[in-house]
Amino acid sequence: MIVAEQKSLDEIKAMLKDAKKVLAVGCGTCVTVCFAGGRNEVGVLSSSLRMAREVDGDSLTVDEVTVQRQCETEYIDGLADDVESYDAVLSLGCGVGVQSLAERFPAMRIFPALNTKFMGYPSEHGVWEERCQGCGNCILHLTGGICPVSRCSKQLFNGPCGGSQAGICEVDPDTSCAWQLIWERLGEQGLIEQLMEVEPPKDWSTSRDGGHRRIVRDDLRLPDGEEG
């Protein structure tokens, strides 16, 4: 899932300082699961903003809505009738959700309430860890299902660096050395020999280094003249 966390209340307050009526829009998908921008978080943030403005001696109307998926036009079309009555929209979606709203409602000021952090999973209650950077060329079949792109601090492809100490990364004592994990996993699977093959330098052009990315599926595109 996409993992995000809320910006500070002060930062959000500052963004909305000129607004009197705001629509807070949550998203029912990734950011609901990571407790950053679901219906409950929309409620808590909206309530906090209303009270903070009252404490400052002013008032702020914050209406609340959570759509199933903020990153698809079909799900945000339903806001079209009401959105113009607001001074601003506060999105509790990921960066994709914010931009979807901005594209759908170009005349409206859309403010991000979250910082989108990474693609990851909950390793325990209240803890999320990065697992994928979307590098565009997956090699998990070579590394025992453990990603050296997202989990090795130096993104190494041929074993650990000298900073790996007792299975821990030198960058952060709470981070396991990805290559130690890969070694152990492939050892358990009897596939250590696989690691003796030297991986050539990675072609990063499939990642962000290649610029803005886009996927086109001709088999899914609508024929000319047919509307979506």
Partner: protein, 161 residues
């Protein structure tokens, strides 16, 4: 407004297995506690969410107390522990909002502690009285046409504001 003329409103989210029964015991024993306390009975304090505590404050409560079972005695094992985590989270939020963090408190009490319930309730109401009225206007606008929780009903019996 002076503490003498201010009549606070305090919402108490009480677990039915302990604090609610303790409040009942206090009443039966004629041990009085301040009428400022408005009890909301819950099946467990684990049911009290951050949002409900905030909404109580937003709707005009001057303080919120969450009263759960003694540590280790929750009928649902961890409900009171979760409640304390949430109240701690609310107190942090209140500081960021600009309100006094003393306006929210968690207490632990057993069903047999009627007198102690009255004592702790009185102590919290006195704390709130000293803080003074909440700066949040009663029934502040919340909710809207798009599925929000709707405009909050004003609390009854509010005096001295």
């Amino acid at each position: 407004m002076s503490p003498e003329t201010f009549k606070p409103e305090v919402v108490a989210f009480c677990c039915r297995h302990c604090a609610y029964a303790a409040a009942d015991l206090a009443g039966g024993a004629r041990v009085s506690y301040p009428p400022a306390i408005k009890i909301v009975e819950l099946p467990c304090t684990g049911r009290a969410s951050v949002l409900e505590i905030l909404h109580a404050l937003e709707d005009g409560a001057d303080g919120v107390v969450v009263a759960g079972c003694l540590p280790g005695t929750c009928h649902y094992l961890m409900g009171n522990t979760h409640a304390r985590q949430r109240v701690d989270h609310v107190t942090e939020l209140l500081k960021k909002i600009g309100l006094e963090d003393q306006r929210a408190r968690m207490i632990n009490i057993s069903a047999a502690m009627g007198a102690q319930f009255a004592e702790k309730a009185t102590e919290f109401v006195n704390t709130v009285r000293e803080l003074g009225p909440s700066p949040i206007a009663r029934g502040a606008c919340r909710g809207g046409p798009l599925g929000g929780p709707g405009k909050a009903p004003a609390m009854d019996g509010r005096e001295g504001r």
